[in-house]
Every structure is written in structure tokens, then in C-alpha cells.
Amino acid sequence: MPLIDVAPGALDLPALTREVTGQRAGDGAVASFIGLVRDHNQGRRVSFLDYEAYQPLAVRALHRIVEEIRQAWPDTGVGVHHRTGRIEIGDASIIIVAVSPHRANAFAACRYMIERVKQIVPIWKHEHFEGGDVWLEGATADPDDESARQAAYRIACA
């Protein structure tokens, strides 16, 4: 199983956890994050989300974040899978696993990954709600924006 993946199909947290822990045998801390499709957003009752990705660039951006994590927390390994296509309420859109000797870096790397995904990974939510649909737009992706990267780092270490 790859540590980084952007693809349709259900996500498997236990399998990704085994993959990352298998590469960091002997470590004592695993932190994971699961993002689920919410049933409400900005006052709208959400029916489902349809995720679109620029797949090759999304994978490349995730590799970049993994490298940033390797530099910030050299003792920490991380895996991330992002699902694409239609995802129903309550189903997972993203899973992240971070493994480290101790909890602090595992939690920090996990949080950093999700913050950076929202900043620079070319994936979009098409929200279908009661009465219509809308493309959600968050951050202008700029991987070289150092202030954004530092903001993610500060949040991760808070």
C-alpha cells in the first residue's frame, strides 16, 4: 500500500496504520486523523460531496508535504490517503497516520499534514445541498508561500 494516494474508493485506516507503523517499528506513538463528510456547511443541509482532484499534482503536493514533515520532525513517518469522487455523509474523505517515538511529534505531524492539505493540494469539494450545488473554494494554492507554511507549523505545534 502506498503511503500517499489520491483515488476513488473507500479509505482503510487500519491498513494505512499498519503500513506506516510497519516502516517505523519500535516507535511508541501513532496519531491519526479522519476527515468525514459533514451533513451541514455554512447553514446548508449537505446531501453529499463530490471531490475533484488534479491527481498527479495532488500526489506531488502531498509528497512535498511529507518532505516538509521529514525536515520538521525527522523522527516521524506519515501516510495520507485522499478519496475522490462522490462521498456520502459520514464517509471518510481523508485519512492521515503519523508515527513517531513519542506523542508530541506524532500529533504535530498529523495536524500539519491536514493544515497543509487545505493550503496547497489541488483538490476541490463540489457540495451538493438541499436546493442546489456549489464549488467550495478555500486557499489560493502556493507551495512557496512561506508565511502559509509557517502558519500551518504554528497550528501543528500549538
Binding site: Y54, L57, S93, P122, K125, A141
Partner: protein, 81 residues
């Protein structure tokens, strides 16, 4: 020369297609490809200040040069996670 233009999310909806083949005058930049698209489809222009761009599936800049056969992508603000 000929480039493949990729559009995503609402930009794709506005253009009616996620992949367009366009002939552009050389020497071309991402900026000149974008100007040609906006001339053709003015509605896209609202994204000029907020979008990101990529050449051959790697983040790039509007000033970057574009070669024959390149894939040039225009990306609205992202909302993954």
C-alpha cells in the same frame, strides 16, 4: 504550437470542459495562454487574482514559458480535506 489546457472545479464548469486543445503563438507563457482563454471565455477572468497555475502537473507561475505539447492547468482556490 499546441498546448493542452486543463481546467478544474468551477473553472471547468464555466468553460464547459476540463480539457481544451489550443494553438498559441510562440514564444508563449502561461500568461499568454490564459489571456487567450479569457478572450474566448470572459467569465473565466474573475479567477485571475485567486487561481494557481501548473505546467505539466507541477506548480508554476504566470510568467513561466510554455512549450509545444505542454499541459497548462488553471486551478481555483483549493478545498480538499
Amino acid at each position: 504550437m499546441r498546448v493542452t489546457v486543463r481546467l478544474f472545479a468551477r473553472l471547468r464548469d464555466l468553460a464547459g470542459s476540463g480539457e481544451l486543445i489550443r494553438d498559441v503563438e510562440g514564444p508563449a507563457t502561461v500568461q499568454s495562454v490564459w489571456r487567450g482563454l479569457v478572450a474566448e471565455m470572459p467569465a473565466l477572468g474573475e479567477y485571475e487574482r485567486t487561481m494557481s497555475v501548473a505546467v505539466n502537473a507541477d506548480y508554476s507561475r504566470m510568467s513561466a514559458s510554455v512549450s509545444d505539447g505542454d499541459e497548462v492547468a488553471f486551478l481555483p482556490p483549493v478545498s480538499g480535506g
